[in-house]
């Protein structure tokens, strides 16, 4: 068996809504999940079960209340659940990639640069980074004439593909994909599925949420069921 790339143990998370009188909403409890290099695990469960919350917790975007999230980073296991912010930033730069459902657009930054930024942050020369960004955008059927434009005016599907290019360009050993094909047509969804398969072949560990069951069945090796927590009586 190949090495474990990411492993969550006894993970729990409640949301406490102070503006609602301190209402406590338990979302995750006793989550144990481990994903190996080259494996794709699809999170399954009804809407509201906590799939996105688990995904965001794995990325360090949500703070968990207990448990650990071990990520193999530079050959050692780092616990994202308790790591200091600067360590999380370093892990995200090199090891842990994330494709959110929506692109957070930055005014005035061209699509090509949104994508290239990931490589430039690691020290890749700007011209090389931009060249690779353009190649990936073309593969995702974003025509060259759009590469120099800020994605704010792009359609939802185009923004999603810019977001995917940004997520895939870094070749992170672990990728978290939150509905990567949600606003894509069949042809583009198939391009993305191909990219996921290539990443797996390179040894990338992938955790994904896929509403498109055809895509899910094509790329996922197994399902991980996230069950809604029963309301306390």
């Amino acid at each position: 068996m190949s090495t474990v790339a990411i492993q969550a143990e006894a993970l729990a998370k409640d949301f406490v809504l102070h503006l609602q009188g301190g209402l406590r909403i338990p979302v995750l409890s006793e989550i144990g999940l481990s994903v190996h290099a080259g494996e794709c695990v699809a999170l399954a469960g009804p809407s509201g079960a906590g799939k996105s919350t688990l995904m965001r917790s794995l990325y360090g975007n949500y703070l968990t209340d207990s448990g650990s999230i071990l990520v193999r980073h530079r050959g050692a296991m780092v616990d994202i659940a308790v790591a200091d912010p600067r360590t999380v930033i370093a892990v995200r730069r090199e090891t842990l990639g994330y494709v959110s459902q929506f692109l957070r657009v930055v005014p005035r930054v061209a699509a090509r640069d949104v994508v290239a930024e990931v490589l430039i942050a690691r020290g890749t020369p700007e011209a090389e980074a931009r060249g690779r960004a353009s190649e990936l955008l073309l593969r995702l059927n974003i025509p060259s004439r759009l590469h120099g434009l800020p994605p704010a005016t792009f359609s939802g599907g185009e923004q999603q593909r810019v977001n995917l290019a940004r997520g895939f360009i870094g070749g992170h050993p672990i990728l978290l994909l939150d509905e990567p094909t949600a606003s894509l047509d069949v042809a583009n969804a198939s391009v993305v599925a191909g990219m996921i398969e290539e990443a797996k072949a390179r040894g990338t560990a992938i955790v994904g949420i896929f509403h498109d069951l055809d895509i899910r069945d094509r790329v996922a090796d197994r399902l991980f069921h996230v069950a809604p927590i029963q309301e306390a009586a």
């Binding site: 809504l17 975007n61 949500y62 703070l63 912010p85 600067r86």
Partner: protein, 259 residues
């Protein structure tokens, strides 16, 4: 007391103005090349904290330690005034919300930029002028405006000129107080993009005070939330803004209007 590898560390900062507590046991660290945002409503103490960190206001208690380019760790509030001024002219920069506080309005745009270089010992007029022209273009001011007085500039141009003046000496640490406050939204976007790319390219550490959560999200690696002079929540910017824990941070984040 400075954290390992940190550029600037503050511990136990306390300051009161009469019966008003402006800072209560405030602490922070910043490492080279990172952007730290301090957010909170007016009166939360964020600008006071910036002024104490930069040595401009002396606290009642606590320390601010800075690791200088030479590797020596200095106590910012124990430094002789001339040494602190020298630091502000070389390794540090301060970007004010109102650029007029930092610029000399009766000196040309090029002179405003070149002056910081001269304060560092540059003497060759041609080189200084060339460098000033380069910096004007870097901040998207046409080099043909080099001999114009700042009073002929728009608010957005003045702010970009202040940034050129501040960054020309390649500081390692820059304090920014609401750098985009008071500007039109379109002008803000351009300025934010400029700050973002320059800070990354030059590997400058920035302590940024802002009341604008969107500005913090765009620019900052880490965030500190202040309320009534205390630091109430700190962490990775996206984590604090997407999963705030303190009641006040939840209020702050939920109060932002989505465009």
């Amino acid at each position: 007391m400075i954290a390992p590898g940190a550029l600037l560390s503050a511990r136990g900062l306390a300051l009161s103005f009469g019966r008003i507590v402006a800072l209560r046991d405030a602490a922070m660290d910043i490492w080279p090349g990172e952007v730290l945002a301090i957010v909170g409503e007016s009166g939360s103490g964020k600008t006071t904290l910036l002024n104490v960190l930069s040595g401009n206001v002396r606290p009642d208690g606590g320390t601010v330690a800075y690791r200088s380019g030479s590797g020596a760790v200095v106590d910012v509030h124990a430094m002789p005034a001339p040494a602190l001024r020298a630091l502000h002219r070389s390794e540090w920069g301060f970007v004010q919300q109102d650029p007029r506080r930092n610029l000399r309005m009766n000196v040309s745009a090029g002179g405003n930029v070149g002056e910081r270089l001269m304060a560092q010992g540059a003497r060759h007029y041609g080189n200084i002028r060339d460098e000033a022209a380069r910096w004007l273009e870097t901040v998207e001011i046409d080099a043909s405006r080099i001999d114009d007085l700042p009073r002929t500039f728009s608010g957005g141009m003045l702010q970009r000129l202040q940034i050129a003046r501040t960054l020309v000496t390649r500081p390692s640490l820059v304090f920014m107080d609401e750098p985009t406050g008071g500007l039109d939204v379109s002008v803000q976007a351009r300025l934010l993009d400029l700050i973002r790319s320059l800070v990354a390219r030059l590997h400058i550490a920035v302590v940024l005070v802002t009341h604008d959560i969107a500005v913090a999200r765009l620019l900052a690696d880490r965030i500190m939330v202040m309320q009534n002079g205390s630091v109430i929540e700190t962490g990775l910017t996206d984590q604090v803004l997407d999963d705030p824990h303190h009641p006040y941070t939840q209020l702050l984040v939920s109060s932002v209007l989505a465009a």
